[in-house]
């Protein structure tokens, strides 16, 4: 047993490391061709990561990305493709921001306000995702289509609500528009980071908790077992007594609920209002990270941090005259090469496993070539 687990650990590491090296080589080639010395670029990026601010911001980005990735991963685990995390979190953040900024909230205790805001966001996200779930189980509408459509509908809805006649407030002269700012009691204080002027989001602990809950749900609960089983084999899950329709609805609601959290660290930790410059497109980043981290709670955490760090170091590239699109290219190459590496390792592992089974069964004549 010990031998097998040692092997799986080293194989597990071989894939991401090998892929990362490969991705770096590809990007190095692109850089060299376009006349930018790759080693200097790498040095700049690493150097920038040593800045406490970059580090703190990377952690903050990672927090948001991670939540988004978990939301996507819940769907992936049962072969549901929730492309709608984007719309879900934007609508949720907007409505939650309106609630948190409302004046009646001022009279409530801080903890209750924060809890209500977060809960509201989860409910909105869940409801919005639930529409796709409902359409799938009652009408058989593919969630791929419905969530793409719902993203755009959410955009329109947010634009409609983010209007001074409705939920937004305007500041004279400003070209921005947003919900009423959340007063101090409704905010989540940040964690000071040595040497950085920006704090680490207090809600990084929320992301941590979500990660642990996600792991626990998948590996320790009946619900998680049903979820995974449905993803691995729908027919086998049905035969085992899983009600797939209920599972679709439940996991869509759950995924949407987590998606609702995506905007919270930013909203409660930094922006304190949902306005035009609230970050968009995090749902798509979440897809990439879920895929990169293979839906694994720890893997996604690494992926989210890697992604955040790449994003944050791109400023330094601009400063040294390298087009920062190279970072986007790098992200694409990393996703692809990591996955190819995982696939190659997976095949190799399966071969080893089959060999083990064969050996243990003892029915096999094993010529030397096979043993080697």
């Amino acid at each position: 047993m010990g031998r097998i687990s040692w092997r799986s650990v080293s194989l597990g590491l071989a894939a991401p490391v090998g892929a990362l090296v490969f991705a770096l080589i590809v990007c190095g080639i692109i850089l060299s061709i376009t006349g930018h010395p790759p080693f200097e670029v790498a040095e700049d990026m690493l150097g920038s990561l040593e800045r406490p601010r970059t580090m703190a911001n990377s952690l903050n980005s990672a927090t948001t990305y991670y939540l988004s990735a978990v939301a996507v991963a819940i769907g992936f685990k049962m072969r549901l493709f929730n492309i709608g995390v984007d719309g879900q979190y934007r609508l949720a953040a907007m409505l939650a921001a309106a609630l948190a900024g409302a004046s009646f909230m001022d009279s409530l205790p801080s903890v209750l306000r924060i809890a209500m805001t977060i809960l509201a966001a989860m409910v909105v996200g869940a409801v919005w995702a639930g529409i796709a779930g409902f359409l799938k189980v009652t009408r058989g509408v593919s969630e791929v289509i419905s969530t793409i459509m719902l993203n755009s509908v959410a955009t329109a809805l947010v634009a409609f609500l983010l209007n001074p006649d409705r939920l937004a407030v305007t500041v004279a002269g400003s070209n921005n528009i947003g919900t009423a700012p959340i007063t101090e009691d409704g905010q989540v204080p940040g964690i000071p980071y040595e040497g950085s002027s920006s704090d680490v989001f207090g809600l990084i602990f929320l992301a941590l908790a979500v990660g642990i809950a996600y792991w626990f749900m998948l590996n320790r609960t009946r619900f998680g077992f049903d979820l995974k089983a449905t993803g691995e084999s729908e027919s086998a899950a049905v035969a085992s007594g899983v009600n797939v329709k209920k599972m679709v609805l439940a996991s869509m609601l759950l995924s949407g609920g987590i998606a609702g959290l995506v905007g919270m660290p930013q909203l409660l930790g930094a922006s304190h209002s949902y306005s035009l410059d609230f970050p968009a497109g995090l749902g798509f980043t979440g897809i990439a990270i879920a895929l990169l981290g293979r839906n694994h709670p720890v893997g996604m955490a690494f992926a989210a941090f890697l992604w955040g760090a790449l994003d944050q170091t791109s400023n330094v590239l601009d400063l040294s005259g390298v087009p920062k699109e190279i970072v986007v290219i790098m992200q694409g190459v990393i996703v692809l090469s990591v996955v190819i590496a995982y696939e190659l390792v997976r095949r190799y592992k399966l071969k080893l496993e089959q060999r083990d089974v064969g050996r243990a069964l003892g029915t096999t004549k094993v010529p030397e070539e096979v043993q080697a």
């Binding site: 601010r53 970059t54 911001n57 903050n60 980005s61 934007r90 755009s152 955009t155 329109a156 947010v158 634009a159 983010l162 305007t170 500041v171 004279a172 002269g173 400003s174 070209n175 921005n176 528009i177 002027s197 920006s198 930013q266 930094a270 922006s271 035009l276 410059d277 609230f278 970050p279 968009a280 497109g281 995090l282 980043t285 994003d311 944050q312 791109s314 400023n315 330094v316 601009d318 400063l319 920062k324």
Partner: protein, 332 residues
């Protein structure tokens, strides 16, 4: 004085102020240099200043979907690297800039397109804002004067308060000439979908719809989507009005320029240039500076000669706005 930021102000270059040590850092909003819109206009101002004062320049650009923290970091990196002055283009930098400016009191900052009264802007920040509604008023008046149908259109790229300002001024201009004129309004996309600034196909469809419902002049406050509006106008034998720079002169619009009767020029380049010059000359002034009709911060362009016939009326409106007789509201 036409507000268009041409390169013919060149003789000022002689008095280079001695201080060739300025290092300017400029941070663009999403789109950056090359957006053929206000970022580009800022770039023109920067280029002119660079040429005249012989200074070192570094430009950074915002990425899609980034947070305030990233914007702040961008400014901070510039400040750390010793850039002074630092210019931020776009209202989205307002919050981040406020924070960074406080930590670097010796650095001079400028922000384009934002002045939020009540927020503490600090005495090392210059706010460069524009009276877009005033310029839009004039092109609105031009549209009404040129229109034969009494039916004109407004195509906004993305439905944001900034573009709504253009719409508001334009509508008031139209109504000032023809109170019962119809103004059709369409925004191509809703934020945060900013593709409305980059989708000429959508611009063309929207413009065609307006022309088919009787409009004969359309004001395209839609960034890159404007070219679609002009193409529709050309096909239908109608007229278009450009935005931000004198679009008649824009090389990429050469084949449709016949339909561009005028443009609402917003001289971000002038503002940027002025700001750099003030720092260079040692007479930086903090606070809000409104670039309005009076100082030539906004203007209507006349190249192409399509509105020569109505120029007297437009000049009259201009005088009345400058004198305060007509108050153009920035709100619908």
């Amino acid at each position: 004085l036409t507000g268009c930021g041409g390169s013919d102000g060149g003789d000022a270059g002689a008095q280079g102020g001695g201080s060739g040590e300025l290092k300017i850092g400029l941070a663009y909003d999403i789109g950056g240099r090359g957006d053929q819109s206000f970022n580009d206009s800022a770039a023109r101002g920067l280029d002119r200043a660079k040429q005249e004062f012989g200074i070192e320049v570094t430009e950074l650009e915002a990425a899609q979907g980034e947070t305030d923290a990233q914007k702040e970091d961008r400014l901070r990196q510039l400040a750390e690297a010793g850039y002074n002055p630092i210019i931020a283009v776009g209202f989205a930098y307002a919050g981040p800039l406020g924070k960074v400016a406080k930590d670097y009191p010796e650095v001079k900052f400028a922000i384009v397109d934002d002045y939020t009264p009540g927020t503490d802007t600090g005495d090392n920040i210059a706010n460069l804002t524009f009276a877009e509604e005033q310029g839009s008023f004039l092109v609105g008046a031009a549209a009404a004067l040129k229109s034969k149908t009494g039916n004109v259109g407004f195509v906004g790229g993305v439905n944001t308060p900034l573009i709504q300002k253009f719409e508001a001024g334009y509508t008031q201009g139209v109504k000032a000439v023809k109170p019962d004129a119809t103004v059709q309004v369409k925004y191509l996309t809703q934020p945060p979908d900013f593709s409305g600034f980059n989708d000429p196909a959508k611009g063309e469809t929207a413009a065609n719809g307006m022309f088919d419902s009787g409009a004969d002049v359309i004001y395209a406050a839609a960034g890159g989507s404007g070219s679609g509006v002009f193409r529709a106008a050309k096909e239908k034998g109608a007229m278009g009005i450009g935005v931000d720079s004198d679009q008649y002169k824009q090389p990429s619009l050469a084949d449709v320029r016949d339909v561009i009767i005028t443009s609402m020029v917003k001289s971000v380049d002038l503002a940027v240039y002025d700001f750099v010059k003030s720092v260079n000359d040692g007479n930086f002034k903090a606070g809000n500076k409104v670039y309005d009709l009076e100082v030539g911060g906004v203007e209507y362009s006349t190249s192409g000669g399509k509105i020569d016939d109505i120029k007297p009326q437009l000049e009259q409106f201009k005088q009345r706005i400058v004198s305060g007789e007509i108050k153009v509201s920035a709100k619908k």
